[in-house]
């Protein structure tokens, strides 16, 4: 209790890195024609435009720029603490950028609520698994699927046919997803009791259930052995082939280099390289900052 104490989750500097639900008046949810003008990457699914995020004195993201195009698998790598997860947090509305803007399908995400962003089509997994521990695996996925349902309290109250249909479809879709990630046998178990690796798979299934256009995976392979990583690789490719764009954060270079189409490298919140894997892996700055000796680190 010796240090000054501030709000939940943020550093003292209340103006920066504020969680979106903090009581700071939203500036201007700028959209409209203006947004169209500031759309320098036509066709991009997601544009990260000069995003800066400060935690007190620490610059976690420093004018980061990149765009992701539909259908690609896009990698985001960098040393520990480079700002990758923070980048996810900004994209999904957990933090509001100190400056800069993120646009999804041309639409700025500034000021959007977390669940609205999900409904727009961005889904994510968590590096430090955040499942609903007392719900079964199936229910976890169904929560994700609910994001796409149209009926709500009245439908449930009166058990309207449409509601029942949605429930049934949601259940089937969720089972299907569990099958896709390979844990359908554990559908009925509470997620708390799943082994670490299966929890990661479940995270992916839950995120997929929201029918995302962009799926952001934060170290999905952590805690997998090489054989399992191999299967994950196939899974990721399969997801992409089904039409979902993927943003992948991962430290396993064999996996990353084997699957991504393009990637960006961050260090201390700054972009130090981007491009195709072959080019990035030989970039001396990347090697110095991240990869170490230019061998397969795995």
């Amino acid at each position: 209790m010796s240090e000054p104490v501030s709000d939940d989750r943020t550093w003292d500097d209340a103006t920066a890195g504020t969680p979106v639900d903090a009581p700071i008046p939203t500036s201007n949810g700028s959209s409209g024609p203006d947004a169209a003008v500031r759309h320098p990457h036509p066709g991009a699914l997601l544009e990260v435009d000069d995003v800066t995020l400060r935690f007190g004195g620490l610059v976690a993201l420093d004018k980061v720029n990149f765009s992701i195009y539909p259908g690609e698998i896009f990698g985001l790598i960098g040393p520990n603490g480079a700002g990758k997860t923070t980048c996810f947090n900004v994209m999904t509305g957990v933090y509001r950028p100190t400056s800069g803007e993120i646009r999804f399908e041309g639409q700025p995400l500034t000021g959007k609520k977390k669940h609205e962003i999900t409904r727009l089509g961005i889904a994510r997994t968590f590096q430090n698994i955040r499942l609903f521990p007392e719900m079964t695996a199936l229910e976890n996925v169904m929560v994700g699927a609910d994001a796409r349902h149209l009926t709500s309290v009245p439908g449930a109250l009166f058990r309207l046919p449409r509601h029942r249909r949605e429930e049934r479809e949601g259940r089937e879709k969720s089972m299907e997803l569990l099958r896709t990630v390979g844990i359908e046998k554990r559908a009925g178990e509470v997620s708390r009791s799943l082994p670490y690796g299966d929890q990661r798979r479940l995270e992916i299934a839950r995120a997929l259930a929201t029918d995302p256009k962009l799926l952001c995976l934060d170290e999905p392979a952590a805690g997998f052995n090489p054989a399992e990583k191999e299967r994950l690789l196939t899974l990721i490719r399969g997801i992409r082939d089904s039409g979902v764009t993927i943003l992948l954060v991962e430290h396993d270079m064999r996996l990353v280099m084997g699957v991504v189409d393009r990637l960006v490298v961050l260090e201390f919140g700054r972009k130090i390289a981007d491009g195709q894997p072959a080019k990035v892996r030989t970039d001396p700055r990347v090697i110095a900052a991240y990869l170490g000796e230019p061998t397969d680190a795995a």
Binding site: M1, S2, E3, V5, S6, D7, D8, R9, T10, W11, P23
Partner: protein
């Protein structure tokens, strides 16, 4: 509304509010400590306080004192105060331990969900207060006039009495000692570790059971001190004396940021004073409304209390 009354009585209401706040603050510590470590609203803490009020009466009774006795000589008063304090601290401390061992420990062993603890806490509270109620025929018990309040100094119409000074100073001293203990010692660090991650704390070699017992004991001892100050101030006690003040103490703990020791102190003082102002302004019957409205207003802007949580949760 009665602004002129409030302005006229501003000084006196402040000082009586501070004295009441000091008692509330010490009482609140028990909630904060236990909450900080176990995430449990220890409802039975109000009864830990209540048995303290009776304990010092019993001690003074041994010396033949009751509420109709004459005030003893100054030397004797100091001795009696110390003995009463010790008696109340011991009894409250032990009672807190008993509650932990009898009501909570079995639940911990069974990995009970947090709500279960809340309910046994309520059960324990009912059992203790009823047992005392039956034993005392639910009668009110008067306190020997150990300290005849007398004005020590006066600012305007604000008279500060010896009793008020005693209460406020004692509370501050106890708080300081406790704060140093929790934040400055190894055991205190163990307490905070258990608060944040009990499993990891065990992996660091912290004896969880001992830490939890310690926390209950400390909270109980503080409540014991509070209980003596309470009887001196109010002049009476009853089997349900803890319940009412308990709600205020818990409110104070939350107001300051539950789990945060200094928060409890600040919360207690603010609550004591605000209630008095509210009573002056709107009438005594509204004083709790003032307290709760203040609480809600503060929580709307600072959802984790004035100073935020500290013992337990992340502060960053």
């Amino acid at each position: 509304m009665n602004f002129s009354d409030l302005i006229r009585d501003f000084g006196p209401l402040t000082i009586t509010g501070l004295a009441q706040g000091a008692i509330i603050a010490l009482f609140a510590l028990g909630y904060t400590l236990v909450y900080g470590v176990l995430r449990l609203i220890n409802f039975a803490h109000s009864e830990v306080f209540m048995v303290g009020t009776f304990a010092c009466l019993v001690v003074w009774g041994w010396f033949g004192l009751d509420q109709n006795s004459a005030t003893p000589a100054t030397g004797a008063v100091i001795g009696l105060l110390v003995l009463g304090l010790i008696g109340a601290m011991v009894v409250s401390g032990v009672m807190a331990l008993i509650v932990e061992v009898a009501a909570y420990r079995p639940l911990r062993r069974r990995n009970a969900p947090p709500l279960a603890f809340l309910i046994t806490a309520i059960g324990a509270s009912v059992v203790i207060s009823e047992a005392v109620g039956i034993k005392t025929d639910r009668n009110i018990r008067g306190v020997p006039p150990l300290i005849q309040p007398s004005t020590v100094f006066q600012i305007g119409n604000m008279k500060v009495t010896n009793l008020q000074i005693l209460i406020i100073v004692l509370a501050l001293v106890m708080m300081f000692v406790l704060d140093r203990f929790i934040n400055g010692t190894r055991l205190g660090r163990g307490v905070r570790a258990v608060a944040q991650n009990p499993d990891s704390a065990a992996l660091m070699g912290v004896n969880k059971t001992r830490v939890i017992s310690l926390v209950f004991l400390l909270g109980g001892v503080m409540a014991g001190v509070a209980s003596v100050m309470y009887v001196l101030k109010i002049g009476d006690t009853r089997y349900d004396a803890g319940f009412l003040l308990g709600i205020e103490a818990f409110t104070a703990a939350v107001l300051g940021g539950i789990g945060n020791l200094r928060g409890a102190l600040i919360g207690g003082f603010i609550l004591g004073v605000a209630e008095n102002y509210g009573a002056g302004l709107f009438g005594t019957q509204w004083k709790n409304v003032v307290a709760f409205v203040l609480l809600i207003a503060i929580l709307m802007f600072r959802p984790t209390g004035l100073l935020g949580e500290s013992l337990g949760r992340a502060r960053a």
